[in-house]
């Protein structure tokens, strides 16, 4: 894991003092709410329906046990005992007082954490593959590259007042577990035929009201030019991205309106200029970072067998665990989606427990996934049963990873001032309704957004649900056929929307159409892609 040196620490400490000063000036009335808003936003503080919400950055979703325990303590000390893990691998707290925010940032800084650029029109926290460093299929561990981007993007003087927010993701395998092509910049670290490492740049993806899949603009940027190339991509966007309309201000609109080729041409011209400016960190810096992501001291020859005699445990292993690159180890996902629960929520106590378990069983490391779950990346198979028993006894043993109950949902109208409809109750009802059939239905990624901004990734759900306001009444549209994986696709709306009970009913019907048409090992998405929309429409509206 990355460890701060005195420089990193000085930056975060200076930020805490700056924000303390900004809050003081606001509370004393020296600056208006309009002037304060971009400042608090750049520190992750939103004014929501009932209180302030604080979003804490978890760079590329990686946490130590001590950091996780601090997140649990903050939930108890400053919130109402809960933390909410988000689709951007962050955590947010929904019940924060403005005057407490500087102290929370100071607590976070004590464990090398911050809320820098978790909102605002700047480069946001960089996300990555939750199985980085554990997955057998990665070219390299993508996190050192994401850390390089974290440092470059932190307080970037030119890119702190962009037309709109800017999200980057870095992966290093062909299987995309981070929805990379749905980011403003998605980077896939690749190896070319000469064996050299480079970065493939996908630019202009995103969800929101105009979902777009990012086109590839450069298949191989040499790794010692990755930051310079990023700077070129951002500069073209900062200069030419639309600022006349908030809803057309993301880079995806610029890339779309210019066309991929013209955008690429401008980036390449800017890149050629910037190469003369010597802004790229030396490879020695990448090597310094990489050393901190070296493999933990795995036990050679650890037994590779699992005792599967407990059927509940065997089910959890099959659903929630991923093969590890190291024999004798496994990556275990803790589902934060108990049947009928609030997706991504955990109590302060559960958060601390997960921190403790990571210390005991996973070399002090945890990951947050964009599907709002937690991963213990390096668990010895011999310890897995003991780990599962503790998880199960504490409401953390739900065996539903990637099943219909593993729902992504935004906070919706229960918390968010932008929402048109509630997301959480819909997620809870669907989760309860289909719990008994989820094993039979198999992999089904269901994603719910409470408004068109798509924080719940509904466009990319095998089944997506979009909450809208229809003449003052919450109404839910159903989408089918989206995917955020390597086969990225955007869902299609089935037809007229449903009320709250109707959408639960509609999801169940869609799963029935799948089950009665399924061939062989097809997943819901495969069947949909083969048979098309018509049979689903017939069942829903016929």
């Amino acid at each position: 894991m990355y460890k701060y040196d005195t420089y990193d620490r000085a930056m975060v400490d200076a930020r805490v003092e700056e924000f303390r000063d900004q809050v003081r000036r606001r509370l004393e009335g020296h600056i208006t709410e309009d002037q304060f808003k971009p400042l608090r936003l750049m520190n992750g503080l939103y004014l929501q329906l009932h209180a302030y919400m604080l979003r804490v950055a978890i760079p590329y979703g990686t946490l130590s046990s001590a950091q996780m325990r601090m997140l649990g303590d903050i939930a108890d000390k400053y919130d109402r005992g809960y933390g909410h893990f988000t689709t951007r691998q962050n955590i947010q707290y929904n019940w924060i007082k403005l005057e407490d925010a500087p102290d929370i940032l100071a607590d976070l800084a004590s464990v090398e954490m911050h809320a820098i650029q978790t909102s605002g029109n700047c480069i946001r926290n960089t996300t990555s593959d939750q199985y980085a460093g554990a997955a057998a299929d990665e070219v390299v561990d993508p996190r050192p590259y994401a850390e390089l981007i974290r440092q470059w993007s932190t307080f970037h003087p030119e890119f702190s007042f962009l037309p709109r927010k800017f999200k980057m993701a870095v992966i290093a395998s062909d299987i995309d577990r981070a929805a990379m092509k749905l980011h403003d910049i998605g980077i896939q670290i690749v190896r070319n035929e000469a064996g050299e490492i480079g970065a493939a740049f996908y630019v202009g993806g995103g969800m929101g009201r105009t979902p777009m899949i990012a086109p590839l603009i450069n298949g191989f940027v040499p790794i010692d030019q990755m930051i310079t190339y990023s700077e070129a991509c951002l500069r073209v966007y900062n200069r030419h991205g639309r600022r006349d309309n908030k809803y057309k201000a993301r880079i995806k609109i610029l890339v779309h309106e210019l066309g991929k080729d013209e955008y690429t041409r401008q980036v390449e011209a800017e890149f050629a200029h910037l190469l003369s400016q010597n802004i790229e960190p030396p490879l020695a810096e990448l090597e310094r970072i990489k050393a901190m992501f070296a493999d933990p001291p795995f036990e050679a020859g650890a037994p590779d067998e699992l005792d599967r005699s407990d059927p509940d445990f065997a089910l959890w292993v099959d659903n929630n665990c991923l093969a590890h690159k190291q024999p004798g180890y496994i990556a275990a996902t803790i589902s934060l989606k108990p049947v009928g629960g609030i997706p991504g929520d955990a109590t302060g106590e559960q958060i601390r427990l997960m921190g403790d378990l990571a210390q005991q069983y996973s070399f002090d490391e945890l990951r947050v996934t964009h599907a709002q779950n937690i991963v213990l990346p390096h668990v010895k198979k011999a310890d897995l049963y003991a780990l599962w028993q503790v998880l199960d006894a504490n409401g953390l043993g739900t065996a539903n990873l990637d099943l219909v109950g593993d729902i992504i949902a935004c906070p919706g109208l229960d918390y968010c001032s932008l929402a048109n409809a509630r997301s959480i109750p819909v997620a809870q009802k669907i989760s309860q309704r289909l719990a008994g059939k989820s094993q039979e239905i198999g992999e089904l990624k269901l994603k719910i957004s409470g408004c068109i901004n798509a924080c719940g990734h509904h466009h990319a759900g095998h089944i997506g649900i979009l909450g809208v306001d229809r003449k003052g009444v919450e109404n839910y549209q159903l989408l089918l056929g989206g995917s955020e994986a390597a086969d990225t696709s955007l869902g299609t709306i089935t037809g007229p929307g449903f009320d709250e009970d109707g959408i639960v009913e509609a999801v169940e019907k869609a799963t029935q159409v799948y089950l009665s048409n399924k061939e062989g090992q097809e997943r819901f998405l495969d069947t949909y892609r083969r048979i098309g929309m018509a049979p689903f429409k017939e069942a829903l509206y016929g």
Binding site: Y7, D8, Q151, W152, H156, S160, L162, P281, P282
Partner: protein, 147 residues
């Protein structure tokens, strides 16, 4: 027109107000020009040698195009005064300074103590710009052959 409140230069300020980019193209003797967010800073590159003052206007602080304009001008070798004018607020000062601005004429004058804090808050920086400050990575590897 707003007064220059902060200036990090020793030379005499240019008295003339900056002309628009369009007018500048026609006035071959003008030494001062004013860039609006939609203007292309690169149009000035052929004329940088005779320019002594470039004002960059921020009609609203959230429009960040002026940051790129400033860096492009400095990266192209511009040595004259680069002045941020308009909706310039305390919390933007450090970013503006890093992008090459060396004079500030905020529409609403800033609290001098707050501004002094803002200019000096961050002892370290992660990115190199043309402001001459060594980025953290350069300091980390200063004794190193690769650095």
């Amino acid at each position: 027109m707003a007064e220059v409140q902060f200036r990090f230069r020793d030379d005499e300020p240019v008295a003339d107000p900056g002309v628009t980019v369009d007018a500048f193209g026609e006035q071959t003797n003008a030494a001062a020009v004013r860039l609006e967010p939609g203007d292309d800073a690169r149009d000035l590159i052929p004329h940088l040698a005779r320019l002594q003052l470039i004002e960059v206007n921020f009609p609203v602080f959230g429009d960040g195009r002026g940051y790129s304009a400033a860096r492009i001008l400095r990266e192209s070798g511009y040595q004259g005064e680069l002045r941020a004018v308009g909706d310039v607020l305390v919390d933007q000062l450090a970013y503006l300074r890093r992008c090459g601005f060396d004079a500030f004429a905020p529409e609403v004058p800033l609290d001098p103590a707050d501004a002094a804090n803002a200019f000096g808050r961050y002892a370290e920086v992660y990115q190199p710009t043309t402001d001459g400050r060594a980025p953290i990575w350069a300091k980390r590897h200063s004794g190193n052959n690769n650095g």
